[in-house]
Symmetry: D2
Subunit: 208 residues, 4 copies
Amino acid sequence: MVVFFMDPLTTLTELLRDLPGIGPRQARRSAFVLAQKNPHWRKKFITALIDAEKKVHFCKECMHLFTRKRDDETLCPICRDIHRDDDTLLIVEKDADLENIEKTGVFQGKYFVLGGTTSPRSKKPEKEIHLSLLEKRIEEKKNLKEIIFALSANTEGDDTVRFLRTYLEEKCTALEIKMSILGRGISTGTELEYIDTDTMIYALKGRG
Amino acid sequence: MVVFFMDPLTTLTELLRDLPGIGPRQARRSAFVLAQKNPHWRKKFITALIDAEKKVHFCKECMHLFTRKRDDETLCPICRDIHRDDDTLLIVEKDADLENIEKTGVFQGKYFVLGGTTSPRSKKPEKEIHLSLLEKRIEEKKNLKEIIFALSANTEGDDTVRFLRTYLEEKCTALEIKMSILGRGISTGTELEYIDTDTMIYALKGRG
Amino acid sequence: MVVFFMDPLTTLTELLRDLPGIGPRQARRSAFVLAQKNPHWRKKFITALIDAEKKVHFCKECMHLFTRKRDDETLCPICRDIHRDDDTLLIVEKDADLENIEKTGVFQGKYFVLGGTTSPRSKKPEKEIHLSLLEKRIEEKKNLKEIIFALSANTEGDDTVRFLRTYLEEKCTALEIKMSILGRGISTGTELEYIDTDTMIYALKGRG
Amino acid sequence: MVVFFMDPLTTLTELLRDLPGIGPRQARRSAFVLAQKNPHWRKKFITALIDAEKKVHFCKECMHLFTRKRDDETLCPICRDIHRDDDTLLIVEKDADLENIEKTGVFQGKYFVLGGTTSPRSKKPEKEIHLSLLEKRIEEKKNLKEIIFALSANTEGDDTVRFLRTYLEEKCTALEIKMSILGRGISTGTELEYIDTDTMIYALKGRG
């Protein structure tokens, strides 16, 4: 019988490559660091990983990852918060976007996390974003008056908005829900010497 | 009598440092390159420099630098252009901003080049921007209905807008001229994960 | 009794900050990714972490981290390799340096991993590098003829070499072991326009 | 008759593109700056350009650009300096390399500036570097004992050295002149974690 020997350093290096923004050298150095951590650190890390499996779940309303404090919790703190407006729904791509927008403290409605981007040309958009859950969310929330697309101002974001506008049009018309998109214009740091045509068009139109 | 010897390579290196964005090494290498250029190149360059002195002037209406084709020209091609709207005036900081906005082709009104930035705390704003010329421009143009501030979205730009709004308020009210500022929001390339509070506020307010 | 609630996402974010080169945003995004990994991935990762604790050990001769294939292995594959020269010892700072040098394939002797850097001004050099183990290694290896310092060409590396030369001088003289340092000069990519004085001195002296 | 109108701003922008490291936007902004400089600045610049034509010449021995203090000077200050060793000749690519090496103050011999790079595959190496002048220089200098190639450690530099070694071999052998190249090894800032194979080979060979 041949037993294939797995070097944990090699395994750790490979698995660490799955984390966002980590290159091969950094993964290798991180594997060495992990291998030298004391048992206490390692135990804390493993416990957190196992805990994450048990306690970190998608909110069943907005698909935001959150940590349950009680086993029967199905809604994230934002969806549970009765002080937040139920009439606007901000559609974001990923958890990090939601968290950053929350940090600005300027939005008081609810969110929906798509979990990715898609496009009008996509064959299987339901594999790329939480599409049926979004539809369900729109149908079930009785107070909903406006959906705001808050996607990045790049090709992926624009394609996703284009897809969703078409896909949701009939339903939103029937339910009298407005669809809008974050305002475009010059943003903090924009220098006029480098402004692009699209941004200039939006900035002129949106002047005030 | 002591005659101080001036090395033209040293002089060129020093003078080239006055050009925007040129560091000491680049200035030195550029001086060597200039010294090796053939007489034809050098003549062309010197002619252009002398020509610039004779022919490149500030437009007396908008303070944009332009090249006169006839000696009696006092207006730049944009200010002369009868097809451009006289009712909106876009206030920019510098010529490069004006040229870049022209390249986008989306603005059909007239410009005014401030020649710099200032702030409400400035002791001598008239030394930093073409202030009295701007006032004169506003008073004399009879059709003017709107002034649009198109300054960079940074501290200098914001301070300049704040100063001008206060400074021009009375005059603009009297003449029924609206003051506006380029719309803010997310601009091409903005990622939601890194959006700042100000831009998020503008983007939510300006959604549509 | 107050039970403090630990959010595994927060714990993971904090612990991931201990990996080399990971900033706060990347740690946060990585925590989300870890929390979403499937049970198979997570199990593989945890197994590798536990395995690393059991199987990854410092080689007792060179202090290189290596994975034991059998429980009684105490030497890393390099130290076990009878085809490698026992007469030269390359002193490196860390495992990643050793691995990169091995990748070049040009060194056939043995290594010693210091595990850090120190300096002649250090109060407790034995806390910063594996000093007594290095001494032991030098004394016990009967064939040793040369120690080569292969430290980075920066202040930390130079200070460490300076400290070790003084510290080991007597012992090396007694044992007739030569101490040397990697040759300095221009290295791949060096442009003469930017060469520093030290490198130019070494490059001229080492010309050939 | 059609007279083509040349805009001095356009001409300046185009000519400034010939300076090393200046992009189109920077050239444009520099043209605006030049056009606004006061007559005194402009006069100083033009005088320096004309002076450069009259006074900056290639040294007839080493092809370094230098400024003549008297009209009959044909040698640069380095070639004129009787305290500098005549027995070693450092071959460099360009003036900036020579100036940087002079700044380190560690070389006391003479130089020869190739004015470019070439390669063994070049069809017309004499168009790329001052080849016949180099040969003449080698033949005429009676004390010359060593030629040191001080070219950048990249493909262009290595190719140039390879070409020159072959090309000059017979002559150097006949005249008993040694050919050498700057020593290679780790240079200031080299980190062992990123060392390449070539540099490691040189660094091991050149240890001391």
